[in-house]
């Protein structure tokens, strides 16, 4: 689906992170947790930008994004009333948490955005670990607080929440046997550590991967993600269509 959508709300949560809501009844109705939208930011750019769907509220889709380069910078300057060209929802999101299972959500940095929706949709209280570089980058914590979840917040330097890495906290939780499956999104190094921990405890683990994209729908094959097939063979799957969420046991984090 490709739509021209009106921005209904825009707010800078930090000097770099923007909370944007745009109106699309259709995308809001059709999307699943972990899917993303592919947004055409500037008329001077040829490529869209993939941004995770963070939440839906009525007919509005909420995304959070960090201003990094030209595309997100342009997007951050738009205002309510302006229109954006949105492709989506695209990709394969997180699988539903099976009834009765306790999920653990682990997010780092901008990787926390796609975890809000699935964490809300659990029937058993999930655990959530959010990691930030430092206090200046803390966003969305209040939204997670409003869910019924066991929330831990970590920062690398202890300036907000506990000092330490999300995997420190994750190890604790798994040791205490408080999780039946793990969902994670964040930097690749973090995902790798999360996947290894989950594997140690033989827990199912899904990770949301990032890769530079072209088409966003599976046609151009640029967004390759290395996997190892059951037979040990190396292969590439594609983040936009096969992912962004993959079974962690398949992903070849060292490729």
């Amino acid at each position: 689906m490709r739509q021209i959508c009106k921005i209904v709300k825009k707010e800078f949560l930090t000097p770099d992170i923007v909370d944007l809501r745009f109106y699309s009844q259709e995308i809001a109705a059709a999307c699943f947790p972990g899917q993303f939208v592919h947004i055409l930011c500037s008329p001077a750019q040829v490529l869209r930008r993939p941004i995770s769907i963070c939440d839906v509220e009525g007919g509005a889709v909420r995304v959070l994004f960090e201003v990094r380069g030209g595309g997100t910078e342009y997007l951050s300057r738009l205002e309510p009333g302006d229109a954006i060209d949105v492709l989506g929802p695209v990709g394969n999101g997180f699988s539903d948490v099976p009834r009765g299972e306790r999920a653990l959500f682990v997010g780092g940095g901008i990787g926390i955005f796609p975890l809000l929706m699935p964490a809300r949709r659990c029937d058993k209280t999930p655990s959530v670990i959010l990691g930030f570089r430092d206090i200046s980058r803390v966003v969305l914590v209040d939204d997670f607080r409003k869910l019924s979840c066991n929330l831990s917040v970590m920062s690398d330097n202890g300036s907000f929440g506990e000092r330490g890495f999300v995997t420190d906290k994750m190890a604790e939780i798994l040791r205490r046997g408080e999780a039946d499956r793990v969902y994670a999104c964040g930097p690749k190094a973090m995902l790798k550590a999360v996947a290894e921990l989950a594997a140690q405890y033989s827990l199912p683990c899904e990770v949301s991967m990032e890769e530079r994209m072209g088409c966003g729908i599976g046609a151009c094959l640029v967004c390759a993600c290395a996997v190892r097939r059951a037979n040990g063979e190396r292969d590439y799957v594609h983040v936009c269509k096969d992912g962004p969420v993959f079974d962690a046991s398949e992903v070849d984090f060292d490729a």
């Binding site: 001077a44 040829v46 869209r48 530079r212 072209g214 088409c215 151009c220 640029v222 290395a226």
Partner: protein, 303 residues
């Protein structure tokens, strides 16, 4: 009804709009946005004899009004294509162009035999892929090599052969002449220009392959110039491509000498790009009272 049909080496396309190899997969994904019956032809992702994984990611970088890609011919192999994808594509009115790339002349010949025996409508010989180490672009930048590959392919071919030219050459007309003398039934151009982008923060290339192929509107002036030069040098039909994003661009390429026009990178900007180019071209013919789209072909009046 105005005539939209064009003829490429004996194969009639219902309209001149083609999708460029490698940007459109095997049609399935864009087929969810609009009917593939709308298109003149679909050039499928570059095929190799055996399955290829392609290059490691990142495989794409954005540049001013263009992109660099280094996919490196990831594909399931020609046999898998014929078994699993061709039947899907043959449901539609769009002609199917099999784009083939080899590491050796033997590869090209073998693939030509295989696709000739299939329901593919046209064979596009990619002698211009900048993203593979062996072979690839090397075949397309030297007249003698062009002659060898094309002659060999033509001997094995039971379908019309389109030769896809590389823009990374000093004299595109000479290359085109070699291809035609060796028997090419049609030419397609341009493939991508070799480019590079460096991340100044990490001091590393954005592409894991270091370099990649430049496409998109940025290259259009080079494409138009080369199509014009080639159209003046040879008699065979040309499929023009390189930065076509709107109907006006397609008209420009046809005026320069193209009989059909392929849409590539623009699909990424807008999944409806090829459809919009097609519809826009129809509107253009209507508004200008042009009864036959073929009137545009090569109609530029140079100074």
């Amino acid at each position: 009804m105005r005539n939209q049909k064009v003829n490429i080496a004996g194969v009639e396309l219902q309209n001149p709009i083609v999708t460029a190899s490698g940007t459109y997969g095997f049609g399935r994904e864009y087929g969810e946005y609009y009917s593939l019956n709308e298109l003149g032809a679909i050039a499928v992702k570059g095929l190799t004899l055996k399955k290829r994984l392609g290059n490691p990611p990142p495989r794409i970088a954005e540049t001013p009004m263009g992109i660099l890609n280094s996919v490196g011919l990831q594909n399931p192999g020609v046999e898998a294509f014929i078994l699993e994808d061709l039947p899907f594509l043959k449901q539609f009115d769009a002609k199917v162009i099999a784009n083939i790339a080899g590491n050796s002349i033997e590869d090209y010949v073998e693939m030509t035999r295989i696709v000739s025996a299939s329901e593919v409508d046209l064979i596009e010989v990619n002698i211009s892929c900048p993203n593979v180490k062996e072979g690839g672009v090397a075949f397309g930048t030297d007249c003698a090599m062009v002659d060898k590959v094309v002659s060999a392919v033509k001997k094995a071919a039971k379908k019309p052969v389109i030769v896809k030219l590389s823009p990374n050459v000093a004299d595109i007309a000479a290359i085109a002449r070699s291809a035609v003398q060796a028997g090419a039934d049609a030419l397609s151009l341009i493939n991508t220009l070799l480019g590079m982008k460096i991340d100044i923060k990490t001091r590393r290339p954005i592409l894991k392959n270091n370099v990649g192929g430049l496409s998109g509107p940025a290259v259009r002036p080079v494409a138009v110039r080369m199509i014009w030069q080639v159209a003046n040098a040879v008699e065979v039909p040309i499929i023009g491509m390189g930065g076509v994003a709107a109907a006006e661009d397609a008209v420009e390429m046809m005026l320069a000498g193209a009989s059909a026009v392929a849409v590539g990178t623009a699909n990424f900007t807008d999944p409806y790009a090829a459809l919009n180019v097609k519809r826009g071209l129809e509107r253009y013919l209507d508004e200008n009272g042009i009864d036959d789209v073929r009137e545009l072909i090569g109609a530029v009046e140079p100074y």
